[in-house]
């Protein structure tokens, strides 16, 4: 039985192995963990050693895709997912597994003594731990990616409202960076709202757009052109001084589009176009 030695060591030295391992984990963490954290990682470590022993008892080899490793994989999935969510770095997560190497190899050497058997045993152990470590990293980054894609989705959903300013006047306040996917949704929402409300004028407010590059400008022009094809005029408002400079430096042609510095100006011209005038009922009281 090639794996008896590893299993033997795991069984015989469980407690001292755990103690050394925890000390190493604390050292690599770089800061003193709180009591709760310490307890949690002790519990995790103990459980991992137990599952590792179980797996070796069942004669599991270096191929961690085999069913003997199922419980270990499940456990590592849970641990790395929890760590990804709590904001651990990839190194910290990987070191959870890799820091087991030093104490484990020490014990193996102690048991076997220097000799040809040692190197083959070490090779076995290192293969298993490396693969488990890689597996941990994979599931760590998978969890991260899930978080990122969920946030992207949420961002898409919350940031494209079309609001009605007045009869036949719509406003589209844009917030955040415009990319192709978002612009597509923004364009669609705006055009559908135009049909629904029979609006003649749509104000696109870009106060909340941090930067305007050629691509963003291109998207804006496309939206304006599409709205025009349907019979609605677009006004672009909320152009900050910095952005006005950028647009000219980039050589983007916004000549055919009505642009205003503020949403208020845009609203005023929209009202004028739809035939409304704004007047004050009385002169403001002297202060």
């Amino acid at each position: 039985m090639p794996h008896n030695r590893l299993q033997e060591v795991l069984q015989k030295h469980e407690d001292s192995l755990l103690k050394d391992w925890l000390a190493l984990q604390a050292a690599t963490a770089g800061r003193r963990p709180s009591a709760a954290e310490e307890q949690k990682s002790a519990a995790q470590s103990r459980e991992f050693l137990a599952t590792l022993r179980q797996a070796t008892e069942q004669g599991a080899g270096g191929d961690i895709a085999r069913p003997e490793w199922a419980s270990a994989r499940e456990f590592l999935n849970a641990v790395s997912a929890a760590r990804a969510k709590s904001g651990s770095t990839p190194t910290q997560t990987a070191m959870f597994i890799f820091s087991l190497k030093e104490p484990l190899f020490q014990r193996l050497r102690q048991e076997i003594g220097d000799g040809p058997e040692l190197s083959s045993e070490l090779w076995n152990a290192t293969t298993i731990l490396d693969r488990l470590g890689l597996y941990t990293m994979e599931s760590f980054s998978r969890t991260r990616e899930e978080v990122i894609s969920r946030q992207q989705q949420e961002l898409l959903e919350l940031s494209t409202p079309v609001v009605r300013l007045w009869d036949n006047v719509l406003a589209l306040p844009l917030i955040g960076t415009l990319d192709s996917a978002r612009t597509q949704i923004v364009m669609q929402n705006l055009l559908e709202a135009i049909v629904e409300t029979r609006s003649d004028i749509a104000v696109i407010d870009i106060t909340g757009v941090p930067t305007v590059d050629t691509l963003v400008a291109q998207h804006l022009l496309k939206t304006v052109a599409a709205a025009r094809l349907m019979g609605a005029d677009c006004i672009i408002s909320g152009i900050r001084p910095q952005i006005a400079q950028t647009i000219i430096h980039l050589g983007v042609n916004l000549q055919d589009v009505i642009t205003k510095a503020t949403l208020a100006d845009a609203f005023a011209i929209a009202l004028q176009r739809t035939g409304y005038t704004i007047s004050r009922r009385a002169a403001p009281a002297a202060r």
Binding site: V195, K222, G231
Partner: protein, 131 residues
């Protein structure tokens, strides 16, 4: 033979496109429309494409051609009722159709035509301008 009906509404003509356009139909429409503009002394043409779910570059070019022909005969063309998806397609195809006037529906298109007609005859009196 299949034809697209052209209705006379006062000084304007109303063309409602409800079937898939193909070459022959487009040519027939151009013939009929130019003939009727002259015959009825029309000053405006409304082309309603609200029933079209899909537009390709061919239809885009046909609409531009019709608008240019009508302009030669002193009639203004307004394309009305374009679907959002159609508008997006045309823009993505790089056909913003700069020369054509548009409106959301027939009613608004008619209003716009009437307004610009009044302005050009200078009998409007309500100060409406062409936009």
């Amino acid at each position: 033979m299949e034809r697209i009906p052209i209705l006379k509404m006062g000084e304007f003509l109303l063309v409602t496109i409800q079937v898939d356009m193909h070459d022959q139909l487009a040519l027939t429409l151009q013939d009929d429309l130019t003939e009727k503009i002259v015959k009825w002394h029309a000053h405006g043409v409304l082309i309603d494409i609200s029933a079209l779910e899909m537009v390709d570059s061919f239809i885009g070019r046909m609409l531009s051609n019709i608008a240019n022909m009508a302009r030669l005969l002193d009639a203004e063309t307004v394309v009305v009722g374009m679907q959002p998806s159609v508008a997006i397609t045309l823009v993505e195809l790089g056909m913003p159709m700069k020369g054509i006037r548009t409106a959301l529906d027939v009613e608004k298109g008619m209003g716009a035509l009437q307004a610009s007609l009044n302005a050009s005859r200078n009998v409007g009196g309500d100060g409406s301008t062409d936009f």
